[in-house]
Amino acid sequence: MKDKLLQIKELAVNELKLVQDLDSLEEVRIKYLSKKGELRKLLSKMGKINPKERPIIGQLANEIQSEIENLYDEKSRELKEFAKMMRIKSEKIDVTLQGEQKQIGHQHPLNMIYDQMIDIFVGMGFEVKEGREIETDYYNFEALNIPKDHPARDMQDTFYISEDIVLRTHTSPMQIHTMEDKNKNEPVKIVCPGRVYRRDDDATHTPMFHQIEGLVVGEGVSLSDLKGTLELFFHQMFGESTAVRLRPSYFPFTEPSAEVDITCVFCGGAGCKVCKNTGWIEVLGAGMVHPNVLKKVGYDPDLVTGFAFGMGIDRMTMLKLKINDLRLLFTNDIRMINQF
């Protein structure tokens, strides 16, 4: 019995040593270690041997079984490791092939700058108000100190729906609505972005465009506050090195009024074709809210003052993204939109 055991051991060890793949290994396991394997077969005959020898044989059998099992485990690990190595080796792919790109959509540059400008103003403590696009003559003109037949009506060619209803030519009507909704003399700090319309269509004008206007009203609000506010905005929009310059101008709803220039974004102020070698580009109109406008909404111009400004989002978009043709903003050419 003992001899037989040792013989099985020797056979099993030899076979295990020779095994080259997992399938043959499994065959060896079945042959020696399984319930119907050689070891069990032999041990089933234990009953026929001398009871005194049984414990000795049993112990030997156990030792042999665990020796074979260890050997088997070792071999199994080795072969699995090898198999994994082979698989990894065979699984090499071309990492330069294009990935599975899900199609994604792109932002329209106008929407992008619209949001960007709003975010800057919100960061500066402005409340954002959008409003209706078709307005009454009162809110678009009269309340803004532009009575009927005022020469200033020539400054903005207007689309009329009827004698009294117009496509808003600026987002200023929202300033009036906002102050009307407030308590008398209550401070206001808003920006009003949105679509506006003027009867103009050439290389530098489209009949519909986008504007953002700001209004700040409160005790002691001054022209220097306007300058500081615009400086802060343009530093964030175009960088810290952007300078802001105010020049006297005229708008019926503000007095004093100003045209505002910033350092040319194309040449950094050195002078170029775009800025006609002046180093400055005109970007917006602004001024101190005219007392008549404040009176119209029931505010007392002796107690509160305010400033207002308005600029074209389309123009900002062109300056910011260096888009050289206004038309591109409304043709929705996907080759342009995909760039943003």
């Binding site: 092939l97 294009q98 599975e100 899900k102 199609q103 994604i104 959509g105 792109h106 932002q107 329209h108 106008l110 949001d115 960061g123 500066m124 403590g125 409340e127 954002v128 108000k129 959008e130 209706r132 696009e133 078709i134 037949d149 020469p151 020539d154 689309f159 009329y160 729906i161 009827s162 401070p187 319309y197 489209t206 009949p207 519909m208 409160g218 002691g220 001054s222 022209l223 220097s224 506050d225 300058k227 500081g228 310059r245 105010l246 020049r247 006297p248 005229y250 007095e255 004093p256 009024s257 100003a258 101190m288 003052t305 903003l329 409304f330 043709t331 929705n332 050419d333 996907i334 080759r335």
Partner: protein, 805 residues
């Protein structure tokens, strides 16, 4: 408006050049857009006398001229037909490089040497509108005695000068004259302004002129004076030059003087043939409706009571401030003229000028408003020039009608107001200085305020804030500090913008790029989409004065704009795309009220969605379900449950269109464009164009804030269910029924297979669903799920005769 630098310099001592002056004016709010140097490119151009003119032997059209240019006689060949011996003409000699770009070289024309060129106003870069007919057709001929042989063209045409191109703001009409501008320049440069004073000494022969104003609110005053016209010759060259540089065409002496005085003083003048004025009577009145006047341009104008006219005792002789009458015009036979210098209501002139589409220089000045003190100034200046230039003499006193006016308007300025608006300290003395320089009278009152007297020509100055502006603009805005408002403020973004941003993000992550279109379109955009039922042009908001019919209808849907964007791209080798847009649409309630505005979300997709690739050999095209998927993603991320119900619209495929409902409220629709429409649009007919439109304003009201739903700790159970039903039963109904009969343990139902074919029989289809069951509080028992499935199967078979597969 073009203004001569040297003309202003006549009245104020300017010690800086034109460019620096332009900058200073601009910085004070009188914007100068451009400065033109009139002297450029006039080298080698002199005055020559045509000593001999003869026909070219080898040409019918050419003349050979011997031209005396002072130190030599040049032979010059010209094609100008208006050459005659003895004329003085401008000559460009070889080496000249003319203002219009022409370079002059010695040349030969049909065998004859030509040592230069006789030039016309065109070569000198004058606009066509300042040329008389003969000046357009031939070379320029100088009036006799006005120039000398050899004199430079530069001096002959007064081109040793600069033109400032002003872009005046509507409030500063006082600067649209040389006098006004001189005062402004004097104030800015702190220099004295010396305006000439003239006397009027008429040789009174006429005392029968009567002037009557019927409505002084439309004509505050009207001055008239009669002149004897002895010689209405050509005006002197300097005056012609001045007019041409101001973009006006010289005509004859009387008209030229009137225009010259208008440019100088800002007051438009009008002249009548005094003998054509019936009963020597001028009546300023509103026209009688239906009255007809033949105006200078020889058109018959039918007048209404909205038009202010100048009439004689019976008929209108001019439309006040806008255009004179043909019959009372100065002609060769005129011997006495009546000069009008008056003020008319700017609103009335503006309306009339628009009504007749007559935008004369005078009308434009009147409609901006004119200071009352200018009328007498202009009248006297006209009289002085009239006599000095030999046209004749004043033969009546000035006849005045209308009200008196205050020479000055008194306004109190509180210096504190200036300081609070500027946001920094300015001395009262400094303020007073600026105002004095501008020609205001200033007196310091005991209470520290300033009493300011503003001259009547400054019609823009009406209240205190106007003076604040004057002070600050003269001080200059560059000095203003930069501070920030001291307010308690919180930046706020409205819910609508937040919601829009969120939806845009979903759209982009689903492959839809953003478009921006105009908010109007043309009737043809609606017609070609067969959209007349839902979006008829008749019920839309129409623009009363559109730029073109293509942009005349306010949109009621975003589809036409998105269709145009789609076609634009498909025509440019783009094989397919998906676009989205947020835009306002306008629907009228009734004609007199403001329309309803709604923000819509439009989504359009057509063509190739995913091109063939190495990892996926199937090309995917946009179809109903790709766009529907995007719509569903939007609603599910807003936590809004929706339902699609089949619908029909004339422009959509009858079998492929649905309305979208939330809580039985219509919030949008989706559909494939009708094949007829696709064909009409010129798209390839296999193109499936799918469009969805959702009302953002409505869905915002249903959008729920995201809140956490507890995740079940217990495993869920999944079961598949395959049934065969009639082909026409829609998935939506089946799923609804499954959900209703599955009980509370049914968590979700997904349909994962759809099959139609022989195996399930004609007119039938097989649908397979995956059902997920779970409970938050415990593990489900198999029997509970089985019971639920049984109930589902029973109701499916009861209601739809579904058979298990």
């Amino acid at each position: 408006m073009l203004v001569s630098y040297s003309w202003i310099k006549k009245y104020v001592d300017i010690d800086i050049d034109a460019y620096e002056l332009a900058e200073k004016l601009t910085n004070a709010g009188v914007i100068v857009d451009n400065v033109y140097d009139l002297s450029t490119n006039l080298d080698n151009c002199v005055i020559g006398k045509l000593e001999e003119v003869k026909k070219h032997e080898n040409s019918d059209r050419l003349f050979i001229c011997k031209v005396n240019v002072g130190d030599e006689i040049l032979q010059i060949v010209t094609a100008a037909e208006n050459v005659e011996q003895g004329q003085l003409v401008p000559v460009a000699m070889p080496g000249a490089h003319l203002p219009n770009g022409l370079k002059i070289k010695k040349s030969k024309l049909r065998g004859e040497t030509s040592n230069g060129m006789l030039i016309s106003l065109e070569e000198l870069n004058y606009e066509t509108k300042v040329m008389r007919q003969d000046e357009k057709e031939g070379i320029f001929i100088f009036p006799e005695g006005s120039v000398e042989i050899g004199q430079s063209v530069e001096s002959a045409f007064s081109r040793d000068d600069y033109l400032l191109e002003l872009d005046l703001t509507p409030n500063r009409s006082d600067c649209s004259s040389i006098y006004g501008l001189a005062i402004e320049v004097g104030a800015i440069l702190n220099k004295e302004v010396k305006l000439p004073k003239y006397d009027l000494q008429p040789d009174v022969k006429v005392d029968d002129l009567v002037i009557e104003i019927q409505n002084e609110s439309l004509c505050p005053h009207y001055y008239g004076i009669v002149f004897e016209l002895t010689d209405d010759k050509e005006s002197p060259l300097w005056m012609q030059n001045t007019l041409r540089h101001a973009s006006m065409r010289p005509t004859n002496l009387v008209v030229d003087i009137a225009n010259f005085v208008m440019l100088e003083t800002g007051q438009p003048l009008h002249t009548f043939d005094y003998d054509k004025i019936k009963d020597n009577k001028i009546i300023v009145r509103e026209a009688v409706s239906g009255e007809v006047l033949k105006t200078l341009d020889e058109s018959e104008r039918v007048l209404s009571s909205d038009n202010l006219v100048i009439a004689d005792s019976t008929d209108p002789v001019a439309i006040a401030g806008v255009m004179g009458g043909y019959d009372s015009e100065i002609t060769k036979s005129t011997s006495r003229i009546l000069l009008e210098s008056a003020i008319f209501d700017h609103v009335s002139i503006r309306k009339t000028s628009r009504e007749f589409n007559l935008f004369s220089d005078a009308a434009s000045r009147f409609s901006k408003g004119i200071g009352r003190e200018l009328s007498m100034l202009a009248l006297i200046r006209f009289a002085q020039l009239f006599e000095e230039l030999g046209a004749g003499k004043a033969i009546s006193d000035v006849v005045k009608a209308g009200s008196d006016y205050e020479k000055y308007k008194t306004i109190i300025l509180n210096p504190k107001k200036v300081i609070s608006i500027a946001g920094q300290h300015i001395k009262t003395n400094e303020m007073s200085n600026y105002l004095v320089r501008l020609g205001f009278g200033v007196r310091l009152l005991d209470n520290g305020h300033l009493e300011v007297k503003s001259p009547s020509r400054r019609i823009d100055i009406v209240e205190e804030v106007d003076l604040v502006e004057e002070v600050l603009r003269l001080k200059g805005f560059d000095d203003i500090k930069a501070t920030l408002p001291k307010l308690d403020d919180i930046g706020l973004i409205p819910e609508k913008i937040r919601s829009r941003r969120k939806i845009k993000e979903i759209l982009r992550s689903n492959g839809a790029s953003e478009a921006v279109n105009y908010a109007f379109y043309g009737p043809e955009d609606i017609n070609r989409l067969n959209m007349n039922e839902d979006n008829s042009v008749e019920s839309s908001i129409l623009i009363g004065n559109p730029l073109s019919s293509r942009n005349s209808v306010m949109r009621t849907t975003l589809l036409p704009g998105l269709i145009n964007s789609l076609i634009y791209n498909l025509n440019r080798q783009v094989k397919g795309l998906c676009l989205s847009e947020f835009g306002t649409v306008f629907n009228s309630v009734n004609k007199s009220d403001l329309p309803i505005e709604n923000e819509m979300i439009g989504i359009i997709g057509a063509g190739v969605q995913n091109p063939m690739s190495w990892y996926d050999k199937n090309i995917k095209y946009y179809n109903f379900y790709t766009i529907k998927g995007i719509v569903e993603n939007i609603f599910s991320s807003l936590k809004i449950s929706i339902e699609f119900r089949r619908t029909t619209k004339e422009y959509l495929h009858p079998g492929r269109a649905a309305n979208i409902y939330t809580d039985d409220k219509l919030v949008g629709y989706i559909g494939e464009l009708h094949p007829d429409v696709v064909e009409k649009l010129g798209l390839e007919t296999e193109h499936r164009v799918v469009y969805a439109e959702i009302n953002h304003d409505i869905i915002m009201q249903y959008s729920k804030h995201t809140q956490y739903n507890e995740i079940s700790q217990f495993p869920s159970m999944e079961r598949d269910l395959a049934i065969v039903i009639d082909k026409d039963i829609i998935a939506g109904d089946i799923i609804k029924l499954i959900k209703n009969s599955g009980g509370e343990i049914l968590e979700s139902v997904e349909m994962f297979d759809l099959y139609e074919g022989k195996q399930v029989g004609e007119g039938k289809k097989s649908c397979a669903f995956q059902l997920k069951f779970s409970l938050n509080e415990r593990t489900l028992k198999a029997e509970e799920v089985n019971d639920a499935i049984d109930k589902i199967i029973k109701s499916l078979s009861d209601k739809h005769e579904a058979v298990l597969r």
